[in-house]
Symmetry: C2
């Protein structure tokens, strides 16, 4: 074997499609598999890889396949390619056909100069053309992509209580993994009832998940269940003839580096950040999941927020890319992503963010064809006004909130407009002028028409929808949050929207962390960090006070504790570890530490820190080249960036002072300090404004 | 269990898609799997079945699935449905989700009044709607569709010759199956080299297929190879330590009734019919294959002719429907069927024939959506003249004949026109006026433009093509045959085309039985049965004289024998048992016995018998209700039909006589006898015309 870095290669996207299928078909509730409500896609069963190689001298090359392999070098068909093939000096066209009906057809080639990497091409339809091979860092020839597994490590319970023939086990906080039984004596069936709450574990009849495991001491004194589960508690009931000495967990997780951090003068806020990070990590697995207990499916609207949180915690782009690719699925597009209209639209906006935060145009280029086909699907369903309404078969979600969803919703049109604008932006970046010409007028018209149609001057807010040509003047926070976040407002309208929609007690309150994400982000956008801090303290702090060790799918402070666990008409239906519950990560990173990309991929960093009423804040925000450091108190700001240039923007009552260079006064009255010198810390002294 | 006929059900088309994948991935040449050059499709891995049932009294219902089953009756999830579920009296909505990643997800339900049949619905995308379940007569709960196997029976060799450590075995004629070794002694590797000719079996280096089998007397004295193969000969070479006492075959076949028949005064012609029937049967398997030795794939152009032959031999519609559905494949349409432009077009024409011969509009309705999406694909690739040219990635086949295939080929436009006309016809039958309105003008314009563009008045024939706006005046038989068969000619042009194209020795001769099919059919259409009989005698008779026991992929009488076996640059590349070699079945049934459907599904039979220079002919042609019988000699015609009405049309030099009713004189000078009375034989006496 040579020392070149060979890796497993496959048809681009097929590993993600396959893995999503694996993951989503694991939903197993009360002994029955519940498949996703959308089409389940599969990898292409037959693909061909090719490369033309030029050898200065002969070498021996080993070809491994996950699946049946047919290898041709030039005109020669090789009979036992896994035993090593001698390839003579000169130029050779290598063609490797691989087929597998239930895994990801994949190839691993290892020689001195010939080895599998992204320079290989692949096709499922070779007469129409080839694309660059997909890959994902699988460098062990013994571990093809379909053997992908998360990591595990042993975890002990913090308490085990015996009650008759049952053990009630508490792992101290929400966790995830495979329960292990120890000290098995005799033979019989162990029933394991899982609980995110102790009540759930003790309620076999209503608990969401359980396992039954037949064990015998003759097979050893330890046994591990087959399914990994979300739990804090597990109640292990030993059937007749069986006793169990102890219970532990094989904790299962995706190894990720905690690159982002946040600390402040408020210990409760610090605890909220930590629990958010833990909640987020539990849900960041093969893909960004919605929640770890219940469906464990990949939902585009949930994932969209996870992408954003990820930019402020792990900045792990492989999981973001896996999720984007898996969500898009295969052609033909027959339904909205997850069957939800808004969820299709978030997919485009997520790509747009991805490019801004990473600057990775190569990935955009890879997804571009898929993106256009998905947009063509939306376009084909837009009505005579160029707007999207839910059709009979579409799910118009928006939020778990009480609102009518028929007709042209202002909220959906705003997302559609952002999606169209993302397509236009990418078409420009990639020089696809035909697409630009097709969608730019649609995007521009829609932005105008949204304002013309839904802006209610009297109410000072965007209204909910139009149905059969008539405006429904109901005001919800939803479109107004999006309007604030994405520039649908004239400067003079901002304050009115804030008072009349966002902070108006007559407008129905948001009850999901999912939509609180946008609500609080919108408030931060208009400088309301102080009230956002108070909201975080009361809302997320409220969950902590109820004993939460991870954040929930939904939380209404008015509901008493045992009823908090119910949702969907099920006693323990609510997920107590839901990705969208972790949004303080994003809010604190983006709007308190204040770090955002001023140019794609953080080539230029913008830092606009805000104390929001705290004594001090300190933290790191991951960017492609390292971490941005930010410290702020009422007298000074200290920042450093790992690469490129940065603009530190802040307000000061007096002329600010910096030892290195002079801050510049901006038109809006604030100051800006240009920073560079990667790694070097800059300090600015200032005085707070009123 | 009740006595109702439950059967396995699945997503419509998915059994065929799955079976095609199984069959086409069996291509194994010299120890290497060669996958099809087109996209290999798979069934949907997850589907849901549903039915609402009303029970007068409670009953026990058993639910079996091929795959993982989740069963819900009303709101209740059933934990062990395979053990029988008690369903109470009243109305219940049953929902069964089944998933399987490599087989066909399928369901079998058996109760007293509740059982799986076509009244169940199924979906891969349940929020968008459900369709009637697919089914195929799988009534044994122990044999789900993915266990489908052809029948086998033992077949002995006609001669076994020993040569050193080899046995050279001859089965007397072309056959197909699993070779069995008997009287195994010792232990070692047997190498089996298959031959459609003896030369091939004796030429290990160049033979197309071989197997190696490690056997030992300790495992029994018999062993059977894993792959079924095409062969007449097999040479079994025993490696060191091994001896074999005898060799036989497990003949593998699709059980089909020989409903059609043909006999005449010419023994050679009778032999040609029989060898054709045998050739055809060997290739009529899971699907209509092109040939049994080499690729064993499903090719639309080949299958199109098989559909037509089938109407005159087996009239087995399940295999026709399986082939049509499998060929169409899944969406999205990314390439032409088999990647070949003409092969997409034959698919439409095949459906058109299917409806004419069977009257089965239900199947047309099932395929209608797929048909429209395939036509939309063609339409999207038509040029500014509304014509189809091969693109870089398309294979424009037409025939294995020497011709340029760039640009607008007259032959392809004729097929495209017929395909468009089929779509228009079906849209009318199904009342889809939007489609009718879309394609009728295109079809009419194309028919006009073909004549305007390609008819050469001076040459008296259709010319080959137009390239970059310029006509290529080359004349081939191909478009002219199609013109004669499908009404592209004015009556006064017919005789010119016959002389200037079809019978003109300066026009390149046809060398494949594939195109001889159309050539000879076209000659029959213009009353040239006598010369067609002579052609059959010399061309197919020529193969018999060279020892053929089944008809070939290609035959050029000028080539000497051992070279006949070569094709594609390979010494034994030619298939010696090729479906398209069996066309005398069609020619003799349609143009000599003269039986065709005058109304869809043979509601009215047209019989126009022709002796073509023979003393007498006799035979049966299958129709949905039974068989049409025809006898003719130089004095009389005898016919009977199994159902409906019929029109016997013939010519006579004097007034013809029928005991039952009086033949009517037709405008063209011929006579017509209306017949009815299913089963009754009518006899007409006539005198031959000059």
């Amino acid at each position: 074997m040579g020392d070149k870095q060979a890796e497993w290669i496959w048809y681009p996207g097929d590993f993600e499609i396959w893995l999503r299928r694996e993951v989503e078909l694991r939903r197993d509730e009360r002994r029955s598999t519940i498949a996703p409500i959308w089409r389940v896609d599969s990898p292409y069963p037959v693909v061909r890889f090719r490369k033309t190689v030029k050898l200065d001298r002969a070498e021996t090359v080993t070809f491994l396949a996950d699946g049946a392999l047919r290898l041709q070098i030039g005109d020669r068909t090789i009979e036992h390619p896994e035993q090593g093939v001698r390839v003579e000096a000169g130029e050779h066209a290598i063609m490797a056909q691989v087929h597998h009906l239930s895994r990801v057809p994949a190839l691993f080639v290892q020689g001195e100069t010939v080895f599998s990497d992204e320079s290989w091409e692949v096709s499922h339809l070779w007469h129409t053309g080839f694309a660059s091979a997909g890959r994902g860092g699988f460098r062990d020839p013994a571990v093809p992509p379909a053997d992908f597994r998360l990591k595990t490590e042993p975890l002990n319970a913090v308490s085990v209580r015996r009650e008759g023939s049952s053990l009630i086990v508490d792992f101290g906080r929400e966790t995830f993994g495979y329960v292990r039984l120890h000290g098995i004596r005799g033979e019989g069936v162990a029933r394991l009832v899982y609980g995110e709450s102790e009540e759930e574990a003790n309620d076999f009849e209503h608990g969401e998940t359980y396992d039954e495991l037949r064990v015998s001491e003759r097979d050893g004194e330890e046994a591990t269940v087959r399914h990994s589960r979300a739990l804090r508690y597990v109640r292990v009931h030993c059937g007749e003839g069986l006793s169990v000495g102890g219970v532990s967990l094989l904790y299962e997780y995706l190894p990720l580096a905690y690159r982002g951090s946040f600390r402040s003068s408020d210990p409760q806020l610090n605890r909220i950040w930590e629990v958010s990070a833990y909640t987020f990590h539990l849900n960041a697995r093969e893909f960004f999941l919605d929640g770890i207990k219940r469906d464990r499916w990949v939902w585009s609207g949930d994932a969209y927020q996870s992408y954003l949180m990820n930019y402020y915690l792990f900045f792990d782009m492989p999981i973001t890319r896996r999720t984007i690719v898996a969500l898009r699925g295969k052609d033909p597009v027959e339904h909205h992503l997850n069957t939800i209209l808004d969820y299709t639209l978030y997919w485009f906006i997520g790509l747009d963010d991805y490019y801004r935060y990473t600057g990775d145009l190569a990935f955009i280029r890879e997804q571009y064809g898929s993106m256009l086909r998905l947009m063509a699907f939306c376009d084909s369903r837009s009505n005579e006004n160029g707007m999207l309404e839910g059709r009979r078969e579409d799910w118009v979600f928006v939020d778990w909130a009480d609102m009518d969803k028929e007709g042209e919703l202002c909220f959906e049109q705003m997302l559609y407009c952002l999606a169209l604008e993302a397509v236009v932006r990418f078409s420009e970046l990639l020089g696809d002028w035909e697409t630009e010409e097709r969608y730019r007028p649609k995007a521009e018209k829609l932005r105008r028409d949204i304002r013309k149609t839904f802006w209610d001057e009297e109410k000072g807010a965007f209204v909910h929808r139009r149905l059969n040509g008539a405006i429904d003047p109901f005001v919800t926070k939803h479109p107004n949050m999006i309007a604030l976040l994405y520039g649908f407002l004239e400067p003079e309208q901002i304050d009115r929207v804030k008072r009349r929609a966002l902070l108006n007690p007559d407008v129905p309150a948001i009850t999901t962390p999912y939509m609180r994400f946008y609500e609080l982000a919108a408030l931060c956008e208009i400088g309301e960090q102080s009230s956002v801090r108070e909201e975080i303290a009361s809302y997320w702090g409220g969950m902590l006070e109820l004993g939460a060790t991870s954040f929930w799918e939904e939380y209404d402070p008015a509901v008493p504790l045992p009823d908090q666990y119910a949702m969907y008409g099920r006693k323990y239906g609510k997920s107590l570890c839901h990705a969208w519950g972790a949004s303080p990560l994003y809010l604190l990173g983006k709007y308190f530490l204040g770090v955002t990309p001023a140019k794609p991929g953080y080539e230029e960093v913008r830092i606009r820190p805000a104390l929001g009423g705290l004594e001090w804040i300190e933290g790191r925000v991951p960017v492609p080249a390292g971490e941005v450091f930010v410290y702020m108190d009422r007298e000074k700001i200290r920042v450093s960036i790992p690469a490129g240039t940065g603009r530190l923007q802040f307000r000061s009552g007096t002329e600010p002072v910096c030892a290195d260079r002079r801050p510049v006064r901006l038109e809006d009255g604030g100051y800006e300090l240009l920073i560079g010198d990667p790694g070097r810390e800059f300090e600015v002294r200032f005085t707070p404004t009123a």
